[in-house]
Symmetry: D2
Subunit: 370 residues, 4 copies
């Protein structure tokens, strides 16, 4: 247990079930002095809000966030920030038939095995609504990153079989289509593909990519809390993720050292790399290049097609899952991947701040209120 907390210094704890009174998060360890409003957080939440296109669930939630603590006169105080989002649309009749049967691809059976029973309403804790807490906390982490000039860009690299090559990226397109794809044509093909799936009562997955610019070098704590290691945990902890890679990732396994190594060079007095196969990490620390990570999202397990499964009393049955499900969660998961990346970076930025004695000395001997 105790698995609902992430981070060492910038530490978030999420709570809440799909059909309970609400969901939320406590952020402990956010430095004092960051401007923060509910609107800052709401913007992030709105990116994962349901019902924004015909490709996402029609569940109707306004998902309005309330800041309960940790902010005074528009600024973080250094004390825990508690955020609450009330659940509104809780039509539990949609989920009633799920109480006794194990949905394929879902956590139902595992919850029963772990705890002896489960809150079966809408998936309970394993619902996608749990990510609201992550996204809300991620909004605050992003504010912290923003103070340091760090910028995250996150988008769908592929929707099912529709993939955009790096050469065809057009980041201005990301917010112009329902899939957050960085390419207009791909978005059109994805729309056709997903429309067909909806007719077939089927679903699909995709790839999400996140790039981070202006990250200082040296972030990440060898040997277990490496930048890539904690990112891997962070991203893999998102419900539907089945794989994570950094830079060339799985492709590097079939490459050679002479090709895969990124030569260092000097540019304008700075140490740089002439290529970026590493995706911005070396030895588990940021290397000053652009950080690049990719997450593989499995197809939404909730489909209306008839599926074979068993009940919790051991009876084999056929099950058709009705209700308001996303045929693809990738578009709504884009901001979740960004949030988890931001949370990981915020934590490692704080941890890295105490790496050198001369910096600590400077901090405690200088005037603190510069």
């Amino acid at each position: 247990m105790s698995g609902s907390t992430f981070g060492t210094l910038f530490r978030v704890t999420t709570w809440g079930e799909s059909h309970g009174p609400g969901v939320g998060v406590v952020i402990d360890g956010c430095p004092a002095g960051i401007p923060l409003s509910e609107q800052d957080i709401q913007q992030f939440l709105d990116r994962r809000k349901p019902g924004q296109s015909k490709y996402t669930t029609k569940r109707n939630e306004s998902d309005s966030v309330e800041i309960l603590s940790g902010v005074f006169e528009g600024t973080t105080t250094g004390t825990p920030i508690s955020l609450l989002v009330r659940n509104q649309d809780q039509r539990s009749r949609d989920y009633g038939n799920i109480a006794t049967s194990y949905r394929p691809g879902h956590a139902d059976y595992c919850f029963d095995q772990k705890y002896g029973f489960r809150d079966y309403r809408g998936g309970g804790r394993s619902s996608g609504r749990e990510t609201i807490g992550r996204v809300a906390a991620g909004a605050i982490a992003s504010k912290l990153l923003g103070e340091l000039g760090i910028v995250l860009t996150t988008y769908a690299k592929s929707i099912g079989p529709v993939t955009v090559d790096e050469a065809d990226y057009d980041f201005t397109e990301i917010t112009n289509n329902s899939f957050y794809l960085p390419n207009k044509d791909a978005a059109k093909k994805a729309a056709e593909y997903v429309s067909t799936l909806i007719e077939q009562m089927d679903s699909c997955g995709g790839l999400i990519e996140c790039r981070v610019d202006h990250l200082p070098a040296g972030l990440g704590e060898p040997v277990f809390d490496k930048l890539d290691a904690l990112l891997a945990q962070a991203i893999m902890s998102i419900g539907a993720v089945k794989g994570v890679e950094i830079g060339d990732g799985f492709q590097s396994a079939s490459s050679t050292g002479s090709t895969n190594n990124d030569p260092f060079c000097m540019q304008q007095g700075q140490v740089m790399k002439t290529s970026n196969h590493s995706g911005g990490t070396l030895g588990g620390m940021s290397d000053g290049s652009q950080l690049i990570l990719r997450a593989a999202i499995k197809p939404t397990p909730s489909i209306s097609q008839m599926q074979h499964t068993v009940t919790n009393s051991g009876e084999e049955i056929e099950l058709s899952i009705h209700g308001r499900h996303d045929p693809i969660i990738v578009p709504r998961a884009v901001v979740v991947v960004e949030a988890m990346t931001a949370l990981t970076l915020a934590d490692l930025l704080l941890r890295n701040a105490v790496s050198r004695m001369n910096q600590i000395k400077q901090l405690y001997t200088e005037d603190k209120n510069v």
Copy 2:
């Protein structure tokens, strides 16, 4: 900092540099009553020992482990187990020219950026020798898993471009070749491929796969310490790993729900699945099926070919890395992947043990010495 500890209850802390007096690990939280000898640990260490074939470094280290604490009369006592392996072959002259230049693909530059300087002898803390502590601790975790009948099988799925399809797996072959490949023909092809690379003063990577049988369902702590999330951290924290996936992993991103979902069924009174696309996890918990994970290993960055890089004073230079380097680390990393998997599972088995009040009640009301 403080990144050298892994685990919540079964907690390991590794220490040591390539060319310091030694490397080691402290395991805190190993339950009392597990039979343990130095030989149990040595067996694991021998699997990663250098100099075992022409495809691995010729550095000559016996890597003999000494148990310094936590074991009494051949049994773990519940107190911290400290393990020490002395470094022997420390020919630091091999590495002398590395002191001031940043090797491409290595952590040198990042260490300097993080700490202001570095122990440049043999990569210091980022050396592969750091994994000795992991493997030694993993041997103990494996003993714990063995007490519960859990079995791990780990091997190279591919060496550079040479890949073995699941249909061609022959696990009896794994220990018959220098690459830990589960297929005789593939091993022959890999030998040819790597021999060519050696001639070209180049290196390659590969894929490592680990399968775990007889895992109880319900392991993993939602939502951040999910089984797959912690495995992802554990595996990605290994030096050369650039990607991690579970089950169908990246392939599931282009699949559909109707294909990717694993139907539940009853077999001999047990809930089972008729397929295993999920690779043994649902909702971040073990689902009672075989756990399957895969790691992408990048090519060894140390190559003797001339490479372009810079010095720590900002001068661009050409660098050729001599010394005793593995042209491929995959064979020696197999046991490291197994060790990290074992450590993750041991920790989650302990954490899961306190999931239900009725079990805790039973423990404290029954005679403890049954």
Copy 3:
């Protein structure tokens, strides 16, 4: 930062300021299957509610708790339990003059030094209202302890100079007086003493004692997370506590080994002790005797007498603190000490549950639903 979480497995995170929207707590790691209602928690909160006698603040708060997650059909689910208490009586005009001056005995100056500014309304995070989260979580820990037959008794041992000797304890009196003193005469004397202080616009402190019966032996995790060590942290973390002792505590410093040692004996086939100078712990683990701990509470720092202090711009001033302050916080702190003790014990009970391999083996090989 990140100091608002307590516990390793039974982990609580409190949040909230005196005059923000509310205060609350998230409990992560509570085992599944414990019956829990809002009424269970409300009972504990009512014991610390203000306005219950003329010896406590007249601030009017109903302090009604809402369970936001983690409970399904009256039972804990194993997922995080989020509790919310809205602040109601927030007459911030009472505290307006505090914004710029440092109240003696308060945290104002330290907050400014740490964070650069502070939420000055009612003490912000350092307000006694922060303990609401602790008490609410403690109520749940107490339910867990109750399942194992463990019983806590907490009371004021002294109010200012009025002390009750152990020989004069009458535990039936505890709830018969406003001070939670276990003696009728002492309660009368205390009432007189505190009444005089109120007239003098002064305040006082006292001692709180907690006794725990039916604790199994062996709780506590050497060497840093010993039972007494974690209790010391837990109790000392309560705002006004300046000292903690176990058993004979400070008196044992002037005793001798032959007197202070508790001889073991057999009673009804059980190992027992013929005395209990140790207060129930040996080597940092529970020894099967009654656990006894004592906390020293300092006098309430908020007094209406004129005091000398400085402003945050460095001006020396005279300050009289008006508003609704407790002349003594001991009565309301009794339940806080009990809550912190319960939280510590619940956590250590879970941690201790995985001490022995044979027990873990039994758990995973037996039918889990016994």
Copy 4:
């Protein structure tokens, strides 16, 4: 389990038993760039070495420390520092009769209850030798504190009934007597008292006091990781400690607010206090005054007098403990109290360093190598 680690950022893990091959500690999170030699550590260890006077055990141990990692060319590197002290004098025959009986005042019974058996040689893990790891780590923490000008002074305030009032303190005397008492006459009286106890085959305890000067204000992480709370855990985790207090401690319980509050004033442009009843902490954070803490040490439980006890098979017996035991451990515990205080402060100094966004911003935007 997992109780052998202390600290969040400056994190120490001790290991080792009295009669195993050795004892030691791993320090993870020490900042890079602190000059460190074995001699720095040895000086601290020598202060707790046995056999230095007739008032301490005659066990003969040189307790020489070896630095195994984390230091390069005389400077900490930021990677884990592993320290090893080999056990030498392990005359296990001294302890043979302890294998089956429970020594009064010792942890024997608790270990058996917790783990099912124990390493009975010399107390195993509960031996005072475990503190070697703490003291060695404390030496490094003290180096860190020294870089910031922070000074610790630790001494015995009382030996059994012999107490030194604050008015009679003469800190130049501390190292002039075997008891570390800050007063010559008291040292003489203590010598007489302990000599009598030795004749009576008895033992005694005492009080240890630690004062810390030049601590910056604002250290400590509300609400659970307050400075005083973590100090309480740290100090109470030392084997024989039964009570901890800060400043006026238990005396403040019978004081009044008007007396106990420390008025703030301005001195040379600094905020100061005109008294220090608080002992240097307010609201769980350092207040810029001298930090004062006191630990109550119980009498050594190992005495040669005949004592009543039971065996692990439930037989009542009489037991006389022979061997080489300290009649009083206070003198050797002085450096342990100092070490635990230093460890707590070092950790909180690092944690406090990331409290404010403007400081973090400055760190990442300035030249790091100033």
